[in-house]
Symmetry: D2
Subunit: 452 residues, 4 copies
């Protein structure tokens, strides 16, 4: 592997970061990447989107997360270079020539994200991974121009690391695996900003035990319990934060709001900023995408609160001023009851198309050896004293319990008023009471026949 | 004092908060206030504005801060009610009937803030305190409607606490004094989100030692060092965070950006959202104000990056994509050199009106007994075992050192390129070198005459 | 239940505690109990005994732990009194009359512990639970004298809470169950002082969700994941701290040291302090027990380092100056190899009686419904919205995976030199090499036959 | 400077430390030093002695502190080697050949401490600095034997660093100056274990800014506020922890206990362990000293609680079971009242020789340029951008306020019963009341003449 042209800064730059204390920038190219428009734009995109409506501290942005992934990658490279430097090709140890490449990949791995990526992908067919590849390889972006200065094919190399097609598995798996710098950063960071301490895990121990091997990265046996704890923390963060019912309610509402906006837009009466208009019109460009951020979206929503269309205006208000839908757990069987519930909701004055929805949130906390899927071939290996690798779930009863399972639930969302229980009789009270008879302990259930 | 009509929630609501762990809401009126549009809107206004460009974690909003001040107020009320309940009128102890009032005042004390309040007040004559009073007392706001349900004059009472005209000094000083719930929350919170640990102080000890007296609130002698440390932390946060030269550079640029926009607007060619337009036209209403937030502002700036006016477009780009001005310390004497510097800057191609500025940032970390000013009559008193009060600076050498002093500096801001030091000769290099001869260790200085 | 005579302190006393910030003492009886000789004595007994040889920070004592259990009990009582006060007998809510009783039981639950309790119980037949009961109920102790001032039968009541025979299950289970104040304190405290962060769990959330019911204490459904995390933390602390191989090596050596001392004592030539002598002579009294502490034991060991008996002197040196035995994992099958290993060790010059041992360390991280054993009938219940209780392992896949399992290992301990691998040939090298052939990845294994 | 013979460990050893996360041992000599008897002995000597009676968490030992100073020294060497490696002799940068020397000096800087060093030095003329030098240079110690393997004169070199006679000021000042690894470790560590958070300072920032110069070590200008905060923290720890009145009361009692023991010993009737006996007989050796620790001392005290001499037995009980003397602030003027007070105390039945004392505790938080004294020539220098050094108190108003001042107080100690205030009249009540008339707000004062 050739050495890239790499200009070291005469004095390192540090960014204060509450999660990693400091982010250290030592290379001109890293400094220049951070300064690009495409990277700075991420300051205006919250890492957890509507979850800030549930955990008010969670206002941290994709900017910090990307910088944090870079920093973790840099630290792991330092450890590898000090403890496991390659001696000869193929010895499965660390080749320091990969450092700048993997650091750039860490920094840019999420560069393709826009505001509310999930909802956007669903509604407008954007794909943040493809867009990220484009931002890196398109000669018109500032990111590309910076990367090209390292080597003409450097943008493509960085893109290939993120796309997992780069041949060196150590480099790829530092960025994308079940124990990569990406996940380590977001778990720590999201735990810090939400204040949810059970998302904590022992990062310093994990960095003490991480090591390269010919097939990627693994951990020493004495780090097994730290890795186990990290998997448990990840599971906890999914159950407690990422799948929080109110966060999902906000996301459902956001989706309906944009769906309604699309319809109204095609009727031609929607106040909307030009870039978002292009999305509603299904004719957007990369440039439009790069001009979107949380603030632009909320500016549009704010305009829509005064829209003539009552559904659009209502949904915009509900979303912006945090009036989330209520929700209940459902399953395959009880789903059959939803038409009845929707009918009651309709009778209570709400259009079920916009005021109800179902939403599944399931995560596989860990997966050993599944050949397809998001976590393909990224099982976590634990190295024994003699160099033998044992897959994590073989060693940990906790990971074995989670291995290959899907954790989460499916929920039905609807207007909160349906759950109301007023003292004074109201016009819709009988409807609400009828609705509530189907619900017990937050779960949809079949009514038992009244005894005769 | 009459008891207010206060409906307790059947089950308390808790908000997860990384600073105080949980914010506990026990009253219907507090829940309803949080749900108002005016309060929810603060989720979209960062607490520290452009400082997030310096400390990337500092994306926390005025929403959390206000909730945090409420929570601290609530906890102090709990402590007072348990340890120092009034027995008879005039005994200088705590009257629990004031609880709801002071909690509401804590929650709403900053409700008048908009985006970039400082810059706005300067440019558009907004006054966040007056606007706050209006939001509370204007019958058209949701906040007012909620407060009125407690008692017809309750909005006015809450407003009077914030305005420091309410007669009970304990109530007023919990919200506004040199050791109030407001400052305690923002110091802890800003330290947490910036990651600047020397802003930490021992809140749990301070809450252990706080107590009411007839003239307001004070602290037991055994808490003296904890209070001293809090004053030192406050000083440190001002020097290190609030007065950071890059944060001030961003603020200077923001101000010039808006000044330029105003001029261009009056020429009639500025793309701008309607509410901001009303500010540029100097004809804004409370409603316009309530529709502004950080995202709306940045949406406008984003539009302006493509503006025809090159200065406006440039400033918008510099601000949004974080290219701060450089700066140097100046003083009364060296200020006389600024015309020379501005002239060099002009020769280098920059209009000094928009590309240079001076900015003073000074804070009085503590003040004993000054009869006027922001901290008037809010000196911190320490209660001896026999009940005697001694003012803090009499007891602490550190506070005495800071007492009544102004800490900070005055700076001159200008384009960073003036400090460039390129290897290859550039067209403006002689200008830059001439400029830099006036600067040593970040400070403007007179040149010594060259020896003959 | 009668109200006990309880004198409140005019001013509460606070103890600074790094784990709970402050320990608040509000009652004369609590203050007096802390001041007794039997309680103060616990300042001289480390909570984790020889584990401080592995985790140097773990020098905290049983004094702090007992105070911490008291503090947690007090806080839970506060929560119960505020949120779940009983209205009428039998409603399953909290009767505040039990407060003083349960606080005293929390404070005194471990009062029977002496230095190295485990080893002592094994060697001298002491039983810290019975001794604890005696300290509380024997009229000669200061503890008993303090308790009697509350009510004549108060010592017996406190003892019955600790012995789990007190009729109110809420009171008993606050002190002894799978989620009691005892475990919550020691997990937090041991994590803090060892520095092992994966022992952390979200105590503030657990205190938010804990509640009484007719059968004891349980947790609200929204606290399920916090309780799950606490069980996982407990499992982690056992695997990583309490069962650490080096800590167990030190404990094995301690036991052999005392066994050897007993033999030498009966030969009549051992320098020993009088109280320990009574134990070696098997004729000890409660008074002797109360005069032992870590320092007294180590003072004896220090004397023994100069003993004439070479084994005693060597073991005392090994223990005091931390030269732990090495160890390997064994199982039912490989145990059959131990005679061979011991023979090699003997050939290398070590008496296997004193220089080898096996030690099992297994813990049941959680157990639902087993009718016997340490955790009998203390399964953790989660209360649904409608009041229904569901046992924790029904809800959590992690707890289900751990439920009823034994986690840990069995190890064989031996002199570290057997693992040596010197460059220069030494007299015993062939022996060492032969020994090491049985070991792979820290585990004992059968040798494969060499191929012919 | 010659390179020392230094064998790197094949695999680094890590010690878990709650303050620095991990202590990394990379060299054989460091590992061997830690394993010596003289070093392991420090596990049995508490860092803060009787202060654990005030802050129960403060049970940490000199072992951890010494290991922590080593670790900080190691980290600073890493930083210096990476950022400021010397290029040519005399350039004022860091010579990596000094690393092993300064690491050993850091590890051993406090090796001469025994139990209750202060009290011992006072009573028995021990001098922990001289003893430390002896432990390092005496060929009979294990420490010396390990050090000699590096080079024959290595023990003397290490000793000279600790004695500040080694010629390289960078090496000396890393271990002994007003901002050395010793102080940084003990402030952090004592804050952690006492739980006193206002002792916290921003160590990671300080390590970011520390740098060598020809005269020693200094800090970059951007670290000025972090250093300022460290000085303030140090001041706070002295006022709040090290000078705590109850800790001093315990120390006063300890001293009187040993004084009394000396007298009784010379009467020939004292039960005492042999090594302590040699101290009481004023004929101790280094070996005796090395056999003392906290546990040995307390074992003696425990024996003395049953002594025939009532004063000795009483003082031993008061000390061991924590019944501290009360105390009041005195000054030069009010000292004249002490004979009167002592007379009252005598009338109340206490021998003033053993039951009263005065004690001064003053610290100089910072000192610029004083040519003599503990902090001689170790003022803190701040390096400007152009390399100029400015002494810290020139830059910081806080440090200027503390510079050269003595902070602390002088107190008079006496039996707590003198402050009692019983409801029922007791025999000595009039005496107590007369005594208490001299005290106001914890301070001794002159009585005003009663008006006629």
């Amino acid at each position: 592997m050739p050495k890239f042209q790499n200009i070291k800064l005469t004095k390192e730059i540090v960014l204060r970061d509450p999660v990693h204390e400091y982010i250290h920038i030592e290379d001109q190219v890293i400094q220049d990447l951070v300064a690009t428009k495409e990277f700075q734009r991420m300051r205006r995109i919250k890492q957890l989107g509507p979850i800030a409506y549930v955990f008010p501290g969670a206002t941290h942005t994709r900017f910090e997360h990307n910088a944090g992934v870079y920093e973790l990658t840099r630290r792991i490279c330092n450890i590898f270079a000090q403890k496991y430097p390659t001696q000869r090709s193929g010895d499965g140890l660390w080749d320091e020539n990969n450092r700048l490449l993997v650091e750039c990949a860490g920094l840019l791995h999420d560069i393709g994200h826009g505001p509310y990526s999930h909802t956007f992908e669903h509604l407008f067919g954007t794909d943040h991974e493809k867009i990220g590849q484009k931002i890196i390889t398109d000669p018109n972006t500032e990111v590309n121009q910076v990367l090209r200065q390292v080597a003409p094919n450097f943008p493509e190399l960085v893109a290939s690391v993120i796309a997992k097609t780069y041949p060196n598995p150590q480099v790829v798996k530092l960025i994308s695996s079940q124990a990569d710098a990406d996940r380590m950063d977001y778990l720590k960071r999201d735990a810090y900003f939400t204040g949810v301490t059970y998302g904590e895990f022992d990062l310093s121990r994990i960095l003490q035990e991480i090591r390269p091997f010919s097939g990627g990265i693994c951990f020493s046996m004495s780090g097994m319990h730290a890795v186990e704890d990290y998997i448990v923390s990840r599971y906890q963060m999914y159950q407690q934060v990422y799948f929080h019912r109110v966060g999902r309610a906000m996301e459902v509402m956001l989706q309906h709001l944009l769906e309604r906006a699309k319809i109204i837009y095609h009727k031609g009466v929607l106040p909307v900023t030009p870039e978002l208009a292009n999305f509603l019109a299904d004719s957007w460009t990369l440039n439009d995408y790069l001009k979107l951020d949380d603030g632009v979206m909320e500016t549009n929503f704010l305009m829509w609160t005064d829209a003539n269309d009552p559904i659009l205006a209502d949904l915009a208000n509900l979303y912006l001023f945090r009036k989330p839908f209520a929700s209940i757990r459902i399953d395959v069987e009880t789903k059959n009851l939803l038409p009845k519930l929707k009918d009651l909701i309709k009778q209570a004055g709400f259009d079920p198309t916009y005021y109800t929805d179902t939403n599944s949130a399931f995560d596989e906390p860990y997966d050993a050896y599944k050949p397809s899927g998001k976590n393909a071939n990224s099982q976590i290996e634990i190295m024994q004293d003699d160099g033998q690798l044992i897959e994590l779930s073989q060693l940990s009863p906790l990971v074995r319990a989670l291995n290959g399972t899907l954790q989460g639930d499916e929920r039905f969302f609807f207007p909160k008023i349906m759950m109301s229980n007023s003292d004074e009789p109201q016009i819709f009270d009988p409807l609400y009471q009828q609705f509530q008879r189907y619900i017990k302990n937050g779960t949809l259930r079949y009514l038992r026949k009244p005894r005769k």
